[in-house]
Symmetry: D2
Subunit: 472 residues, 4 copies
Amino acid sequence: MKSGKKDNMNLKVAYIGGGSRFWAMNLFRELMLEPRLGGEMRLYDIDKKAAEDNAALGNMLDEISDHYENGEKQPNNDRIKNNWTYKAVDDLAEALTGVDFVFISVLPGTFDEMESDVHVPEKYGIYQSVGDTTGPGGIIRALRTIPIYEGFAKAIKENCPNAWVINYTNPMTVCMRTLYKVFPEIKAFGCCHEVFATQTLMCNALKDVLGIEDAKRDDLVINIVGVNHFTWLTKAQFGDIDMFDVYRKYIEKHPEGVYKYWGEPSMEQVKFNLFKRFGVIAAAGDRHLSEFIPGYQYLNSPEQVKDWDFFLTTVKSRKEKMARQFGEREKYLNREARFRVEHTGEESTRQMLALLGVGDLVTNVNIPNYGQISNLPLGAIVETNAAFRYGSITPLLAGEIPVGVRSMVLRIVDEQETVVEGALERDLEKVFRAFVNNPLVKIPMDKARELYKEMLENTKEYLTMYDLSQIK
Amino acid sequence: MKSGKKDNMNLKVAYIGGGSRFWAMNLFRELMLEPRLGGEMRLYDIDKKAAEDNAALGNMLDEISDHYENGEKQPNNDRIKNNWTYKAVDDLAEALTGVDFVFISVLPGTFDEMESDVHVPEKYGIYQSVGDTTGPGGIIRALRTIPIYEGFAKAIKENCPNAWVINYTNPMTVCMRTLYKVFPEIKAFGCCHEVFATQTLMCNALKDVLGIEDAKRDDLVINIVGVNHFTWLTKAQFGDIDMFDVYRKYIEKHPEGVYKYWGEPSMEQVKFNLFKRFGVIAAAGDRHLSEFIPGYQYLNSPEQVKDWDFFLTTVKSRKEKMARQFGEREKYLNREARFRVEHTGEESTRQMLALLGVGDLVTNVNIPNYGQISNLPLGAIVETNAAFRYGSITPLLAGEIPVGVRSMVLRIVDEQETVVEGALERDLEKVFRAFVNNPLVKIPMDKARELYKEMLENTKEYLTMYDLSQIK
Amino acid sequence: MKSGKKDNMNLKVAYIGGGSRFWAMNLFRELMLEPRLGGEMRLYDIDKKAAEDNAALGNMLDEISDHYENGEKQPNNDRIKNNWTYKAVDDLAEALTGVDFVFISVLPGTFDEMESDVHVPEKYGIYQSVGDTTGPGGIIRALRTIPIYEGFAKAIKENCPNAWVINYTNPMTVCMRTLYKVFPEIKAFGCCHEVFATQTLMCNALKDVLGIEDAKRDDLVINIVGVNHFTWLTKAQFGDIDMFDVYRKYIEKHPEGVYKYWGEPSMEQVKFNLFKRFGVIAAAGDRHLSEFIPGYQYLNSPEQVKDWDFFLTTVKSRKEKMARQFGEREKYLNREARFRVEHTGEESTRQMLALLGVGDLVTNVNIPNYGQISNLPLGAIVETNAAFRYGSITPLLAGEIPVGVRSMVLRIVDEQETVVEGALERDLEKVFRAFVNNPLVKIPMDKARELYKEMLENTKEYLTMYDLSQIK
Amino acid sequence: MKSGKKDNMNLKVAYIGGGSRFWAMNLFRELMLEPRLGGEMRLYDIDKKAAEDNAALGNMLDEISDHYENGEKQPNNDRIKNNWTYKAVDDLAEALTGVDFVFISVLPGTFDEMESDVHVPEKYGIYQSVGDTTGPGGIIRALRTIPIYEGFAKAIKENCPNAWVINYTNPMTVCMRTLYKVFPEIKAFGCCHEVFATQTLMCNALKDVLGIEDAKRDDLVINIVGVNHFTWLTKAQFGDIDMFDVYRKYIEKHPEGVYKYWGEPSMEQVKFNLFKRFGVIAAAGDRHLSEFIPGYQYLNSPEQVKDWDFFLTTVKSRKEKMARQFGEREKYLNREARFRVEHTGEESTRQMLALLGVGDLVTNVNIPNYGQISNLPLGAIVETNAAFRYGSITPLLAGEIPVGVRSMVLRIVDEQETVVEGALERDLEKVFRAFVNNPLVKIPMDKARELYKEMLENTKEYLTMYDLSQIK
């Protein structure tokens, strides 16, 4: 008998950005928890040493890991197992040739560039709570990212045109749009867990308002429309229960907000305020949401941010966090610490399984708009639910972005389209047209030009493919 | 802790048409095979005695059943169990009050009416291979059915507006459209296994052309567009394999067709011919497909039907089959025979589980067009894939009906819309406008009127809500 | 002062098919009645002698013409004048180079080919009342026409890409689609006066039903949707008066139909019947309308045609009419008869004037669907109203084709699309797929193939660009 | 013979706001220049005395008028004539009963209210150049206007449901939306001459760049998309000449802008800048355009406005202008001055003629979106071209709003929809949700609430239908 199915234990996977310190470990965890998947994982990174370290770590996982569930160490580790051979590779082609899946999770530039992205605009009164998706920071970051993704798309077309490509890098929408523009037949999708947190918030609301305690994130059936980090629920239900009613009561009951730790404490006040204003449930963290909205509303000043009970993530804090993480991998490699394996909330293995023909899965995903959102342009990268089936991802019909928020969503679609076009054409003036129209850039156009030039200059080491003298 | 979820073992279900001899037994089988569902099943039928017999049978299932798998009797019956209490009820309201699910599977009129539906047109040179969906027979049957469904919709609105309503009766589209016209908020969907057979055909093709033997129906990921019994696959894949290529080769390899037993032997020649003509895979049996297409192409005469290697199902054969089935229930009730429990190919329990929050399921279903098919009118009942999740059915984006077949699909949509409107308005002239435009009615309009009158007259016992004297 | 406008008295116009005996004379008449237009008219025809005769005639018009109005000879001829220099040219390039307008009105093949188109199908029980647009005859005629138009499109692209191209040849839709497929930037539109007759019919109805006598065709404001010869009015008004009410009463008042001379007497019964069936006003002659509808309804047999009070135009009658016209041009050239100049009902000069910036004009026209009809595919050639302005034609928003007729319109759109594709690809099998699906071809597929082969064989002299042996 | 047409010399017209000092006189002028129209004009105004004065003036026009053309007095007045009887009426019903046309041109509130609308926001750093369409001023003005228009719509429905209603009042879109929401069958359209000025600008560009001097406004064929005062040309041509090229060169040639007197001198720099940014031609004055765009771009401060070479129209200047006009009517009534009759650039009489069946006219107009703009919501009041014909207005297919500006247009659509809904529901909180999202309101939300309350309080005399205490 000839089998038509892939052997799920002999998969070939490329991991671009495979030297990562954080995301790689979460992937290791999920893979060890999934006995139905295994094979060869090729780690590619511009920092080869980091990839090698991760490969070494990957290959010793069986020895150093402990199994946890719901925070508790399990009596033995017989339900976790490494089914993968990890190896670091020298170049992209070697990583990609003939693979079934490609993960991409890279940092475009370093935290020094990000420091310019996020903090230089502050001199102009422009505050960004994240700075990696939109706003002046997100746009400059996109300029660094797009040419890199242009290269990825070409290499994938060349070496593994049939592979499933899973992107985790921000700015998500811009990365995805680049992949599809350069290689339209690519089978790529972008994953982000931001929406999951909103499902969890709903579970909390259910408990708080109705006393229902056994709702799990997956039970919250939602309809999502929007673009990554600026997504909206137009329907949310727990069985027969309309979560819009529950959410309304939850908000009324908590005028002071509800506590949420997004790296730092936050009170979901932006999200609640958006619901009161527009009647739709925003499905991302407040730090992301606020960046898509006119800057004087939530991000006018550090004081205003404090009033809305969220915070500005500084690049300094990111650097500190990285420093803290720095020794972690080494400890594992030196067997100075045990590797804790527990579910991370990522869905990558569930998605892989569904694509390999093991069960249906419906989850949110970033892919081009084929009509799933009826009032956004076709081709724009949108985030909605999609069905993952054997060899196939099909969007669910998501319908319209509602009145009130739709023009803000359309605005970011146009910004990102212009930025991708401009970057692919190496036309910095075109990109500036998007820059100046960004809602956080609440300064006159001449000032905006000054800022743009300064930000380009600061990060020019990663912008060598552009002619910076274009910008006068 | 308060649970928010329904107790899947304490469900309340109404079964309209619960005196059925055939479909009821299949439902019994599926329910016995699903340990996660149980509760109370209320059987309602205009033949009360039949409902009582089925209730009695249902309640003794544990005693009389044997478990089979893939046709083989299992060593013991410990994997089957009846978790349901069956009871026959006197009226619709009693059946429906407060239920979670409603099954509807009824026969509008008797086989005597169907005899007129199917065979009277033959006097005019009009041949129908089924006669229950479209064609003169399907239209007259719709006239009987629509007022009954009008009553169902009102009763559901009154007694269980939140219940999930699952329809199995033909004409499927007409039944569903009536339910939604009369009670637009109804949570109804229509199920038909016709498409499954096409997935199985694909599995055969895979084996025959590529030697792949382990493909199961569910592995064939398809995109379906159309209306019930006239559905089309615009995409079909087995993992990376494009089934359109495989299907083309399969057809070339079998110029004489491939054998399929649809009650009688058939060779799939209509389906293959449609593929050659339109480049799309028809996803229903040849007897159904041919009824939607100009009558001189496949159904011009009994000889032509024979040439295309399918057949005309006579009502005589239906009556004979019914007679054969007649003693079956009695034998079980008298413990003269064992009840064989094996999977029947129906998806009802999988759908119920998904709607109760146990896993995601993607399958084909008949619901109103919310935009899932972009080039059919909104509101028309269409058949596409949909995602079943906890408390929710959402269509997958299905896209366009392709050139070539789209005008034929649109025609049947218009026919069915006109018939439903006409029947609800009790306007027989309006219905005649659809009748005369049916592609099987390949006779001049005056002859068509003669035929229409004769068919109405023959079945007038079930048409008392209309004024037959309208038709001159 | 530099003028930006074209000098309307120094226009250059190419007339392809300029040897015509009938249409040319009507053009002469309209041009003599329009003092605001003049210049050079280049006549091109494969029958060079005929073009020369027309040129000679054109140049002597001032001498031989008499002015008529409403059928009455005017006391003097001072309101008519020839402002044009006519010349016959040798080739297409010479005709086209640098012109402002191109008229195209050609006969693809001769009446002998048309004899096969129209009458050979009668052997198979297929009757065609015109046979030049659809039906087996229209499709074979399209096979002759499309390669010719392919050549026109290329020559226009080469020699006068900015010219306005006005087509009068049938099959209109097929000619237009070919022009746009081969040269998408072409500024072409197709004119047909069939709709005008329906406006005139409305005027008659106004008089008959309401006693209103001063309504002129142009006063009847209509909304048209459809494809050429199968167009429908979805709105018709005379000021505040809804013409749908008037038309309904008119039909009721005249159960025997109303007399209309379309070359032979006719009673508009098909048109009236279509209104009763579908509630929409058909806007073409009965002979055209009936050809788009299943053949057993109006064209089942010569007897049925007689019952519906219209007629089958024989090619014999066309030949006789041509013979009668034959001496006409010669008489004028020999000054044996006076040339009668009176309005012909054509709109060519009004359209030219509007395009040259003299006033706005709204009229019906055949152009690609840019969305003016919301439920037909983009790009299909449709007939709707459009605004003619200086240098510009813009469709009016026409909306939807109504339920009931929309599937028949979509069918012809698909037929014509398939025929154009097939002919451009020289793929006779593809064309056959359209042929067999034509609603007049009410015969089994094997018989249809026989007929197709015979019709191709009969007209092979004009089908040399195809490989006829393709069809087995 | 019974005539079906209206007698254009016996029209009945209602003029709401008929006491006007400015617009009334322009109407008088246009009517005197159009000999094909006449009848009875009923002037209705809340200032009855003003209406009586206008009526008296209207009835003496023949005696006191002089004819001018292109600024020059004509030798005699035989081409002007008053064909109208003017009369002031007491109430709306009397004005409207049985009329053919209704003009509406009113001032909601007085200039004192407008002073608050325009200048109070300046205390918050918000500058408005007009303040009657959007921005805080436009929104508060809308609150005064919508209940008035609600009354108009009801009175029209009651007294003259078939009349053509022509609105000139601002905020145009809000007025029109109210009319259609309250009486959906109303035959209303809104006229604004703002676009005409852009056509004139094109004529200047033609002369300047290409030396073409004979282009008239009407020769510039354009495609318009947008909402009133924020309209865009996506196509503009003068015959074969693409005006986008000409416009680009014109802008390059005039880096300092071009002079335009819009009440005060202006240099079209905003318009030119928008073209450079978005590649689309903005078709309104800079003072209007800038109000739809984030406030820090063109209206950040009086200095910035000066830098962009346009100006802020103060209400003081409006009051002064009114004072200057104040004695004018009295002088005519006292025969102390002659009434100068010359074309004013308004199109009202051309539109009336076309609607009465005298010729086709294509011009821009504000009506609901029936699909003429494909990417704006149906029902929104949009400005595009439409064809005026006998008894009918039909939009031309206008297509998409282009990338870049479409999200700004969608935003104003949503603002206006929310404001109309809020005002009709008397829900000031809902209106505030639009207020705070206005791009000129570049202040935090708490400050915005302060401003809103102050503006409501200032104008409360005209807001008695609302409960101002709703706003905390």
